[in-house]
Amino acid sequence: MSPPADTRGLRRAGLGSDVWNAIALFGLTALLIIASRWISSGFGGWEQTKAILVLSSFVVVVAFGQQLVILTGGLDLSIASVMTIGGVLTFNFVGASPTALIWGVPLILLVTAAIGGLNGIGVVWLRVPPFIMTLAMGIIVYGATLGITGGTPRGQASPALSALFTASVLDVPLVIYFMLAITICGSVVQLGTGFGRRLYAVGTNPAAAYIAGLPVRWLTFLTYAISGASAGLAGILMFGYAGGATLTMGQAYQLPSIAAVVVGGTSILGGSGLYIGAVGGALLLTTFSTVISSLGIAEGWRTVIYGLVILLALLVLREELYLWAGQLVARPVPLRQPGEPAAKPDA
């Protein structure tokens, strides 16, 4: 008996509720953009969408690494400092020179990956809890950046990197294409490569992954290195956006990177969640903060509402609700009818 495996099932890849979650997030984002027309006449159009996409690009990039780390059951609290050092190094060493850009950017990504790798070494081989390891690394890297720059990063803006934000093709800023490419690449890495597949295995059950012969430690180490590199890339982008770098430039992205991943449906316990969900989370939160900042209310209320929305998203986007919704849409395949022998060999 050699039946072809169920292709429909493979395509579903068993991540049904995650996909639902991502779709729901994109839907909510679109809805929010459309509904925001009630708040302001400038809202609801292509200009607003463009602005939101551009502004969310940093979180989208940094959330890739953050999500991989969270998939393995960890957490990266060093990304604020790594983003900063990425931007500062580009500012100081690459600056306006287009040739320096060509070798400088890969080099800076390597440096930031190495910083992430140090996190990985601490977590994997020294067994320091991720929370502490990355928190301490963040403090250390910040201190190092402060020391290296003497407090003032100095350099020149990079016209090439700024062009990502200023130049448009078909009325779409280049950075949005870039973000789209990152989203696709990130999703392919997660779902299409052996690395991604193994990572989910490690995240959902590290003990079984070890027994199954996966290089659990190397995989975990790699996620931290990737997180470092993606934070570095976000820092480089941020530098391109602002045309300069300061030592505080990454701070605003630490909690949003986690919030985007968590709202995007990734379990903080590891093993489940999709990058596309984190992208949706980033878009939703950015859209929301855009809308909320145009409301004429006190900052305190804005903060309260922002927190409540995260809470609401957590309450609404729980897996049980998707299972429930899924049951409403389609009757589940009966695995075994009552009375049927436990496991009749299928003819």
Partner: protein
């Protein structure tokens, strides 16, 4: 000092238990499909059945942890539907769980007094009173060798099991449930004395085990579960082992003639050679595993078999000794390296170390060969489907399960997928630790077939099973482990359960 501990309630408090047509299902998996039997006052009643027959679910229902979907339970004539563990306990039902429920970071005394500590001055938990109470309790249960002040994580498995039992007994139950209480016990006589004392005072005992000898020693009647159904309650004195087996597995025990029919393949080339292997729990083991050979390992709980298998699977450190695969010496310090050396390992705890509940069955199976499936760095889905399909067919796993999340599958199908994975890994030598635990009869047959098939094609298998009948049925020869050493071997006509029992209890040669 606290008030004297009395373990035995007055006889008039004894209760009977009536279970009538209880059903329970977890999502698509049906655990119980109509269980009925009764337990009389002061009776020690055996609950028999293979792994996965529904015994543990019944225990959970009686302990107040899960609620049945249907059916009724009556305790002493009253409706008994506890909504929590504490409610069950208040009604007089107390359980010693199979998966021990002790807290490793607390002392024996604290564990024994959970959830309410003995209070001293100012109503605060008193270490002294707790330990005094625990010491008295342990002494009364004939377990005074366990120190009340020791941390549970520092106890041996057998000691933990005894603490678990003492704790269940300490609640002065009118119905005591013991779920596989002797699994880790080296000397079950200790438990038998307690059970007999309780029964004499009128306490009902539901004794769950699949060890017939123990059950015959303690119980007069027993109920057999199979596939979530109560097949019947038998008078043990008048039932032959074969009859009970037939009820448990749905057919007669295998004829010993089957085993003799398999040729012993000592002349085949060597597949795996172990020389004086040592490590925690393993005390110098040497053995030869030939191509095409199934070698069984029989042992009581905790004789080093777990450690030996984990060493071979690369999951436990080998401190000294040599391993050679097909004549070539190999060294490995991780399952990955073991796999590369040609040894595939199926671990004991399927849910903990085997499968990835969050992933699809296909992803679970294709994991070891992902590297081979890559095309331009991406997984070639077509080839993955083909390979997974092939492996699934080998273990008779229905194609419709392949695309589902593995968590939706029954335990048997999960186990099939797990075995499909090691088969797909290409390892020519398999180390299988209790591969049929908790699976139904049909799956067992499939797994037996897979193992035979595998060896017929030149693979070799080292197999441990808690079920002696399985070892007799499947192995070409069978080794007995006792205290980390091989103490005997049985093959051919000498490979019988009786022989294995006497070898495994250290009464060999």
């Amino acid at each position: 000092m606290s008030a004297a501990v009395t373990l035995t309630p007055p006889p008039e408090a004894a209760l009977s238990l009536d279970i009538d047509a209880v059903t329970k299902s977890y999502g698509p998996t049906i655990a119980l499909r109509g269980v009925s039997f009764d337990l009389r006052r002061g009776e020690v009643h055996a609950l028999l059945g293979e792994n996965g027959a529904g015994k543990s679910t019944l225990v959970k229902i009686l302990s107040g942890i899960v609620k049945p979907d249907n059916g009724s339970v009556r305790l002493g004539g009253q409706r008994f539907a506890p909504h929590s563990l504490m409610a069950a306990r208040a009604a007089g039902v107390s359980t010693a769980f199979q998966e021990l429920s002790l807290l490793p970071n607390l002392t024996v005394a604290t564990n024994l007094t959970l959830p309410k500590q003995r209070k001293g001055l100012l109503g605060l938990a008193s270490r002294r009173l707790n330990e005094a109470y625990a010491a008295q309790l342990l002494a009364e249960c004939d377990a005074a060798d366990i120190s009340p002040g020791a941390l549970v994580s520092d106890l041996s498995l057998a000691e933990k099991q005894r603490v678990e039992i003492v704790r269940a007994v300490s609640h002065r139950p009118r119905l005591l449930i013991l779920d596989e209480p002797t699994a880790a016990l080296a000397e079950p006589e200790w438990l038998f004395r307690i059970v007999e004392r309780l029964a004499a005072s009128g306490t009902g005992v539901l004794y769950i085990s699949h060890r017939l000898a123990e059950v015959r020693r303690l119980c007069r009647r027993g109920t057999v579960l199979r596939n979530g159904e109560s097949i019947g309650t038998v008078d043990l004195a008048n039932a032959r082992d074969g009859d009970i087996f037939r009820m448990m597995v749905g057919r007669g025990a295998e004829e010993p003639a089957d085993a003799t029919a398999t040729p012993v393949r000592r002349d085949a080339p060597l597949a795996v050679t172990l020389r004086d292997l040592r490590g925690p729990g393993v005390d110098g083991i040497s053995l030869n595993l030939h191509r095409g050979e199934i070698v069984g390992v029989a042992a009581l709980e905790g004789q080093g078999q777990r450690e030996l298998f984990r060493m071979l699977g690369g999951a436990a450190p080998i401190l000294s000794g040599d391993v050679a695969v097909e004549g070539k010496p190999v060294q490995f310090a991780s399952p990955l390296q073991a796999l590369r050396a040609g040894i595939g390992f199926v671990p004991e705890e399927r849910k903990i170390e085997g499968i990835f509940l969050g992933l699809t069955t296909a992803s679970n199976i294709s994991l070891p060969i992902l590297g081979r499936l890559l095309r331009f760095g991406l997984i070639d889905r077509t080839r993955e489907r083909a390979e997974v399909g092939r492996a699934a067919a080998l273990v008779d796993l229905a194609a419709r399960y392949v695309g589902m999340r593995i968590s939706a599958l029954s335990g048997g199908n999960q186990q099939k997928a797990l075995i499909a994975r090691v088969l797909l890994s290409g390892a020519r030598n398999l180390v299988l630790f209790d591969p049929t635990r908790g699976v139904d009869v049909g799956t067992k047959e499939v797994i037996y077939g897979v193992i035979r098939d595998f060896t017929a094609k030149g693979g070799s298998v080292l197999l441990y099973s808690t079920e002696l009948s399985e070892l007799v049925h499947l192995s070409d020869r069978c080794l007995a482990l006792y205290r980390g050493r091989i103490v005997g071997e049985a093959a051919g006509a000498a490979l019988t359960e009786e022989r294995l029992v006497s070898l495994a209890t250290g009464h060999g040669e």
